[in-house]
């Protein structure tokens, strides 16, 4: 090998640059590498929160994830604007990620500032545990799940 010939016969960065340019990199949402929760969250976007039959409590979707945040945020804002007392039914929430929890936390904080009372009609164990893990129990006014209390 002559002195002027490069040692590097291959440039991995060039390969990546090409892939990125051609959009050939799967994001986590597409290939689900972080776990089932991402896909679950995406599916949940199709089932946004809705008032229950007698219109007294808002039923939160089974999967409260990052994909729902935009939609739910708008809905929650409307509810805040309507004022008064708000009830949530979260008994069907069986999957929640950090963004979903953040959304709830922001909502509760805003509710307090607006003098609005928020009540839970049902809280799933998943939500109760997530609130515990993230230290949001007090803010969200959520008790430990039965499993944790034992």
């Amino acid at each position: 090998m002559s002195d002027s010939e490069p040692i590097l016969a291959h440039d991995p960065l060039a390969d990546v640059a090409e892939k990125l340019e051609h959009g050939e990199v799967a994001t986590l949402a597409q290939d689900n590498a972080v776990g089932d929760a991402d896909v679950a969250a995406r599916e949940a976007a199709e089932t946004p929160a809705a008032p229950d039959e007698d219109g007294t409590a808002f039923v939160l979707p089974g999967q409260l994830g990052i994909q729902d945040v935009g939609e739910l945020h708008g809905l929650l804002r409307d509810m805040l604007d309507a004022g008064g007392e708000i009830r949530f039914d979260a008994s069907a929430v069986d999957n929640v990620d950090g963004a979903g929890m953040q959304l709830l936390a922001v909502f509760f904080k805003e509710a307090v500032t607006h003098g609005i009372q928020v009540e839970w009609r049902g809280v799933s164990n998943t939500l109760a545990e997530a609130a515990g893990v993230l230290g949001l129990r007090e803010l969200l006014n959520i008790q430990p799940s039965e499993a944790e209390a034992r």
């Binding site: 490069p6 040692i7 590097l8 291959h10 440039d11 991995p12 960065l13 060039a14 390969d15 990546v16 640059a17 892939k19 990125l20 990199v25 799967a26 994001t27 986590l28 949402a29 290939d31 590498a33 972080v34 776990g35 089932d36 929760a37 991402d38 679950a40 969250a41 994830g65 990052i66 999957n95 929640v96 990620d97 950090g98 963004a99 929890m101 953040q102 545990e129 997530a130 893990v133 993230l134 230290g135």
Partner: protein, 255 residues
């Protein structure tokens, strides 16, 4: 400066100088008058001894991530302006914890939202893996700082890292700044020079101006439990890391 700069020192390749750089860059920034916190996100727990704590604190980032204790209760003040959040004994259980991965990947973000006032810089020393701890860092930091050594496998590892970052992009709420620097650099080696050229070619204006040279004193520091500024104040290593700190603050890039 009011805002805290959250910087992940990151490279999935092992042994490239992440811990050495977190330690010495952290101390360099502190010596320049910034309030600095260095956080060990690596269950190997190398940051504590590097700062002289040979008996590592039992609690640390694990407890912070899980919301079991506030940051103020867990940090150790090691030097003027330089605090440490150790990994904590239980951090090695983190990757195996039950629960949804998407949720656990955002624990650092949530922890930071609970408060981290008073620091100008928080540096996160990341493990050489692509697990959940790294995911937490990628989702929470403002910028990443990537040490790159002058060999082919390092470039290969960097390519892998870029793909990982791309995959997380849709989950971030703001763009991420990416800075690279040459670590353990041996200027007389042709391969080192070639790697440096490639890096510059692919990341113009993204490679910090100062290469950190390979230096025995830097490798000896952890054994002494001292930073390079305490161990050999007038060495190449000390000069390199204080210059690198200025590069980072003043955005001085390699031409």
């Amino acid at each position: 400066m009011n805002d805290t700069q959250l910087i992940g020192v990151l490279n999935q390749k092992g042994g490239v100088g992440k811990t050495t750089s977190t330690t010495n860059l952290g101390h360099a920034l502190a010596r320049a008058g910034n309030r600095v916190l260095v956080v060990d996100l690596d269950p190997q727990s190398h940051l504590s001894p590097s700062l002289g704590l040979f008996k590592a604190p039992r609690r640390g980032s694990h407890e912070w991530l899980l919301g079991e204790a506030p940051l103020s209760e867990l940090v150790v003040h090691t030097r003027e302006n330089l605090s440490l959040l150790a990994s904590g004994e239980r951090l090695r259980e983190f990757e195996e914890m039950p629960g949804s991965a998407a949720q656990r990947a955002r624990l650092l973000q949530a922890a930071l939202q609970r408060g981290h006032e008073g620091y100008d810089y928080i540096l996160f020393d990341c493990p050489p893996s692509s697990g959940l701890l790294v995911a937490n860092a990628i989702l929470a930091v403002d910028e990443i700082l990537v040490p790159v050594t002058g060999d082919y496998l390092s470039l290969n590892g960097l390519a892998h890292l870029l793909l990982t970052l791309k995959r997380f992009e849709p989950f971030r709420d703001r763009p991420m700044e990416q800075w690279f620097f040459l670590s353990r650099f041996v200027a007389r080696r042709r391969l080192s020079k070639e790697v440096a050229e490639r890096l510059l070619k692919h990341f113009p204006e993204r490679v910090l101006a100062t290469p950190i040279r390979e230096a025995a004193a830097l490798a000896e520091c952890p054994a002494a439990g001292r930073t390079i500024f305490e161990y050999r104040r007038s060495s190449n290593g000390a000069a390199d890391y204080s210059n690198l700190a200025r590069d980072l603050v003043e955005r001085r890039m390699m031409a």
